[in-house]
């Protein structure tokens, strides 16, 4: 009615964000998500959730993209501040492992790449693969690892991080797996 850029718009955006946040939290622990429960926690009506995300798929997809973006965006900085090997190792231990531990649901994001049953977040998978690709490339350039590595294979090798849990000595386990993979990536 006035000069404001439609307060409604702002509300809408906030709703979008809230729903996404709640859904992310929900997926992080149980891989189950109920539109009704999400609406309740986000303090909006169910209908609103449906308006923003017409299907469960669209919601999951949005969540995963948001989650994965973190992992992807940090890569350039890591490469700028660390040696290629350290960047690789740090990315895994400080970012990938953390996310995998908490967001069990992310497993299904990866799953997508292969299981046609749930086509969902192919994008998420590809983004992740891209991040690994960058890190691998840096290490190839540095002469640390073979130049015929398929980043997808490396990412798959790291998938075992899903099966770690905070209670255990996960940091050690993460290091062990990283060592194994890193060793496997080196020039023969």
């Amino acid at each position: 009615m006035t000069g404001s850029v439609s307060p409604r718009r702002a509300d809408t955006r906030r709703n979008h964000e809230r729903i996404l946040a709640v859904a992310a939290e929900s997926l992080s622990c149980s891989a189950e998500l109920s539109f009704n429960a999400i609406a309740r926690k986000a303090e909006v009506g169910v209908g609103t959730v449906y308006r923003h995300f017409p299907t469960p798929e669209s919601l999951i997809l949005a969540v995963y993209e948001r989650e994965v973006r973190h992992l992807v965006d940090v890569v350039p900085r890591l490469l700028a501040e660390h040696s290629p090997e350290d960047a690789f190792r740090t990315w895994i231990s400080e970012y990938l492992a953390h996310y995998m531990m908490t967001k069990r649901g992310l497993a299904d994001a990866l799953t997508v790449a292969t299981k046609s049953c749930e086509k969902l977040p192919a994008n998420a998978y590809e983004a992740l693969a891209g991040a690994v690709s960058t890190l691998v490339a840096a290490n190839v350039a540095a002469g640390n690892v073979r130049d015929d590595l398929n980043p997808q294979t490396v990412l798959r090798g790291l998938a075992g991080l899903f099966y770690l849990n905070p209670a255990d000595s996960w940091r050690e386990h993460t290091a062990d797996l990283t060592d194994l993979i890193w060793n496997g990536m080196r020039k023969a």
Copy 2:
């Protein structure tokens, strides 16, 4: 009256087997299992499923044991008929990968190692770890790989096989991942 072992008994056993088979199929793709759906597919009453498996846990456990036994039992033969390296590679490509591709649910068997919430298939996980352990030991003895490897770490490295699907060129992907891991296992 003579050789027959009570047809009723036979029926019961068949029911048991059918339920198990249906449940296995169900778990293979979705990690979800509905007693009702299982009963429907197995063409028995719900009550029958409950009689055989009073709790979801008992059913899942039974399925996993049945599934994993395969993988474990074959190891000795492989070691008898192949070189340690080939036994390892064959086990992965011909057995582990196959099962992982079809039995998505098995993922949760591995999960157990970490998620204490669901103590269920600890046995399954341990059995799998045992199988890997035997194969690794044979290769250590043959001087192929380092002697400080943790079989659990190796198994975790192979977890990525879950994310392969039949439609893709999974055989090649399996080989790639196996190469990566094998390389990582070798003496430095």
Copy 3:
């Protein structure tokens, strides 16, 4: 758009009332209530029943309150229009007995006084006890009965009305029991 108070709201209220009515009928004869059955009879979805009354307790409570309010609310009028003794006798024969005959479930309202397991209709019981209390007090004031009577005891004495049924000559039986109790209440 003007005077109408949102038809939806009206529907909702009607639903509430219908469910309550059906539940009351249900409880009147069997003390058993099935959410499914209630939904069926009230011609609403089960979910609607759950929305209005999230737990069995909340439903039972609502029913009892509705039922008992009648009994309580009529007392002042009775005392205004009748002598204390007649008010007491009329309340029993015209109200309490009627309700007890039809609403078998009310028994459990009384039960509450003792069975701590189901705290539910404590209010209902207390309301009833309050009604009796008022009637007794009026008769004490009129010098009709002892002044050391515990209204709870009187109410308990009347509990036998539950075991009357319409088919029998219940009016006579009610009178008999009322006489017995009244006699017992009089000054010794």
Copy 4:
């Protein structure tokens, strides 16, 4: 096969008794009885329970008769050892109240007298009424109470004992109710 009176017979009788005992215990606290549960607790097959008691009614009936017999059988002894008034009071406080408190299910035995819905243990009710009748008669003979009392009315007046519970000061409440009724029974 020999001179023994069929060991089978003995077993059968034992089964009968066991089932009855288990059912009694079951009814004493919850008024719910499941044939399957009873079979389990009595350590017999469900089929056996059905053989002995074809319908739920027949089982309930048998249980109630067994229970009530106690209350009835003790009356002569009480009258022999106490004054009529004390016999009446003792019967109530030491027997009737106890049973009513523990065997909530017995309530339904009384219910029967009136509620045609569940015709079950008319016999039980009549037996109880008979016991009261004897006690009242003794007190009439002793000149303690009016001679026009209907034992059924007295029994109904005592029905409130159902609504006492062990946790409360039930002994006192029982005495209060008994006083009220006794007072009401006395000559005017």
